[in-house]
């Protein structure tokens, strides 16, 4: 399989580009922020995503999804445009990460229809500390026919409005153990569940979620009891690859804005883009983003073909997309000069969004460390 988008994927990209830029450009995000919107995204827009078929990209045809052999490459095509336009959307958590976890589980019939129609929003309650890690300390004790969940999660994007929370909890062993983790599907109306939304630097809303003896039935378990790590890894691989694609959009959008600015801003009587000092910074940035783009597409293709090397490729993609997009937004503000520091100008929004996505599902250092361990050092 060649490592570039095929004709169908290119057509989807063109469709997604027009659709996202048309319905949710940066001004859409700015308007939500200025209105102190309490949802964190537009529910109308989420329905439109469903009408476009985007929310069914990863859902199998038998479950009402698009089928057509679509996968992570196609989901990434949509996410890149979300990134480029800084569009607030539950697409990554719901239609990518949650769908990947629910696929093949008994819970899919309950949740897929709402995801397909753009009614349902899912959130991921994974992180327990400020830095993403592999440890799961939150407990789920057996209770009657089901389990009782106690503990706290943080950085739960859309957690305060999600209909469904996917929760990693420990049913056996110690926090650092690989086994003994179980993944639960918890409905928003469960008693004892509290979500405390916090506005983040990028004006998105992420919750600190508290589980105060939340009772769930045995059928809330996704995958195996104590063997949830397998399905959690599927969820995370999808989420990380998706976040990497969104980062490409954020970095690419910042670079495009910046290169355009270099072609219109004059100082000393000439366009500043004619200065070699700036040309070299921009050209270096281009190279970093191109390399990241290749790494992300490689991970998407390997996930889609079920290749053994997918896990490591996902870490390369998330780390490299983080490194390249971080450079893109920093260079973006620097090369815009003073105007890049103003709230009125959009480039600063790119910097804020990049920081949030870079942290999501593990930053570049986390993934570099993961690769190092996998290579025996």
């Amino acid at each position: 399989m060649p490592l570039f988008l095929n004709d169908e994927q290119t057509m989807l990209r063109d469709t997604a580009k027009d659709f996202v830029a048309g319905t949710a450009p940066v001004s859409h995000m700015r308007a939500l922020r200025d209105a102190s919107d309490a949802t964190g995204f537009s529910r109308d827009l989420w329905k439109q995503f469903a009408e476009m078929g985007f929310t069914g990209i990863l859902i199998p045809e038998a479950d009402g999804g698009l089928g057509l052999g679509l996968g992570h490459v196609e989901a990434g095509v949509v996410l890149e445009e979300i990134g480029r336009n800084l569009s607030p959307s539950p697409f990554l958590t719901t239609a990518v990460a949650a769908v990947e976890a629910l696929k093949g589980s008994g819970q899919r019939e309950r949740w897929f229809p709402g995801i397909l129609s753009g009614e349902t929003v899912a959130a991921l309650a994974i992180d327990e500390k400020a830095k993403h890690g592999n440890a799961v300390a939150m407990r789920a004790e057996r209770s009657g026919n089901g389990f009782r969940l106690s503990g706290a999660k943080q950085f739960v994007t859309h957690g305060h409005v999600a209909d469904l929370l996917l929760v990693a909890a420990r049913t056996a062993g110690a926090p650092e153990d690989v086994s003994g983790v179980t993944l639960f599907a918890v409905s928003k109306d469960a008693a004892g569940l509290t979500a405390d939304p916090q506005r983040l630097a990028d004006s998105s809303l992420a919750s600190r979620v508290t589980f105060d003896g939340v009772e769930v039935d045995a059928d809330a378990v996704i995958g195996e009891v104590d063997g949830g790590r397998a399905v959690l890894d599927k969820l995370l691989n999808a989420g990380r690859t998706g976040a990497a694609a969104e980062l490409l959009g954020v970095g690419g959008g910042a670079m495009d804005m910046t290169v355009s600015y270099l072609k219109e801003r004059k100082q000393f009587g000439v366009l500043i883009g004619s200065f070699q000092a700036l040309q070299h910074r921009a050209a270096h940035l281009y190279a970093e983003l191109e390399v990241a783009r290749a790494a992300v597409l490689k991970a998407q293709q390997l996930l889609d073909t079920g290749d053994d090397g997918a896990d490591e490729a996902v870490s390369v993609a998330k780390a490299m997309a983080g490194l390249a997009s971080s450079l893109a937004v920093q260079e973006g503000v620097q090369m815009h000069g003073g105007i890049g520091m103003t709230d009125e100008y959009d480039i600063g929004f790119y910097m804020k969004r990049e920081r949030v996505l870079a942290e999501l599902f593990g930053d570049a250092n986390f993934h570099a460390d993961h690769l190092a361990r996998a290579s025996g050092y």
């Binding site: 490592l3 072609k263 490591e312 570049a364 570099a368 190092a372």
Partner: protein, 395 residues
């Protein structure tokens, strides 16, 4: 099974049976690279010749060239499978040659049928080793200002002048060379010619480098007779050929960043020299972090190289993308060698000892410093990206 699956299965079986075990070992230095040519010495490693001949017999030293010219006639998909299967068993490149990576593509595009038939099969079989006569003392980054003259003498040219930084000119059999056939125009007065390095009037003088080795030469031409039949493309149109060829050179140099045959050696060296702590991690946490982040970029660049080749074969690559590949690949290669030196500590400083294999590591480290200079400096590549890809305004 699809045709491509069949091809993969057959290729895998053939490679397993025909790639000698010693040709699956990592390339540790220039002695492990087979450059072919009249003066090649296979005495120390006869497997190099055996492996090259077996591959050449299938056209697999140049898998995607047409079979009429000694190639394998493989489609882009088949070539990719061959590359993947070679990587799988860590097979070395059977033949490294400027004939394959630079002159060949230019001949395929601009050469006459007679020129193709004369030169391409001999390149494919590793019989002739080529060198590149481009840079001159006063024409480095500004290559088109070259002055080596070719005077018209009827059926031949008389070539006089000097080239510099000619890689392995002292070991090469033939040279492809840029010469000035007109002073009317800078780029439009250059022609592209081929001649035998044994022609009367050719002499070479190796340049001693900081590595203690002399991979480059000064090359002198004193009234060298070059038949006009050896000119590629039209007179005064050599710059077109040169630019096309430079793209392939950048591609080749960028491939060094891939470290395909030396994949994993940085980590192996670091583990061997520094050891692991009780948690199974490199004993030096700061260097471990630097190596881990380097490996992220190296693996991402490996994907980039795959993407670039796929796009190139499909005619979808931006014409200036080789500049990006060259820039990134060479900077990555330099960084890898810096980390290898840091990981090796004072052991890797030994310059002549037997256990350092005559200072292979420090000499290789120093050699990489030329990567971002030769074939157009990193700064020249950034200029090209800025102008041709980002379309930033001229100064």
């Amino acid at each position: 099974m699809s045709d491509l699956d069949n091809f993969r299965a057959e290729t895998r079986a053939w490679l397993e049976a025909n790639v000698p075990p010693s040709m699956r070992e990592p390339v540790r230095g220039d002695a492990d690279v087979n450059w072919g040519g009249r003066s090649a010495d296979y005495g120390k490693n006869p497997d190099q010749k055996l492996y090259m001949d077996r591959m050449a017999a299938r056209g697999w030293t140049v898998p995607d060239w047409p079979t009429a010219y000694g190639g394998g006639g493989l489609s882009p998909e088949q070539s990719k499978i061959l590359r993947e299967e070679m990587q799988r068993i860590r097979a070395r490149n059977p033949l490294s040659s400027f004939g394959i990576s630079m002159l060949g593509p230019a001949l395929l595009k601009y050469g006459s049928e007679a020129q193709k038939l004369e030169h391409l099969p001999r390149i494919a079989r590793g019989e002739i080793r080529w060198c590149q006569g481009y840079s001159e003392p006063n024409a480095g980054s500004d290559l088109a200002s070259l002055a080596t003259s070719a005077e018209d003498a009827g059926d031949h040219y008389v070539v006089s002048g000097q080239k510099v930084w000619t890689s392995y000119a002292d070991k090469a059999d033939w040279i492809f060379c840029l010469v000035r056939t007109s002073k009317e125009s800078k780029q439009g007065g250059i022609s592209f010619v081929l001649f035998d390095m044994e022609s009367p009037g050719v002499s070479t003088k190796p340049i001693l480098l900081i590595s203690g080795y002399s991979p480059f030469c000064e090359t002198f031409f004193d009234n060298v007779k070059v038949p006009k039949a050896n000119r590629i493309h039209d007179e005064n149109k050599g710059w077109d050929v040169a630019k096309y060829l430079l793209g392939h050179e950048r591609e080749m140099i960028s491939a060094m960043g891939l470290g395909l045959s030396s994949e994993g050696t940085l980590v192996e060296i670091a583990v061997e020299r520094m050891g692991l702590d009780a948690n199974g991690r490199l004993a030096d946490p700061l260097l471990r972090g630097q190596i881990a982040l380097h490996e992220v970029r190296a693996r991402a660049f490996k994907a980039m190289s795959e993407r670039f080749l796929d796009e190139l074969k499909a005619g979808r690559a931006h014409p200036a993308q080789p500049s990006m590949m060259k820039y990134y690949g060479t900077e990555l290669n330099k960084s890898r060698h810096e980390l290898e030196m840091a990981a090796g500590g004072s052991d890797t400083l030994e310059w002549e000892s037997e256990r350092s294999v005559n200072g292979a590591a420090p000499r290789a480290w120093l050699r990489t410093k030329a990567n971002s200079i030769e074939g157009g400096t990193s700064e020249v590549q950034l200029n090209i990206i800025a102008k041709r890809i980002l379309e930033l305004p001229g100064a």
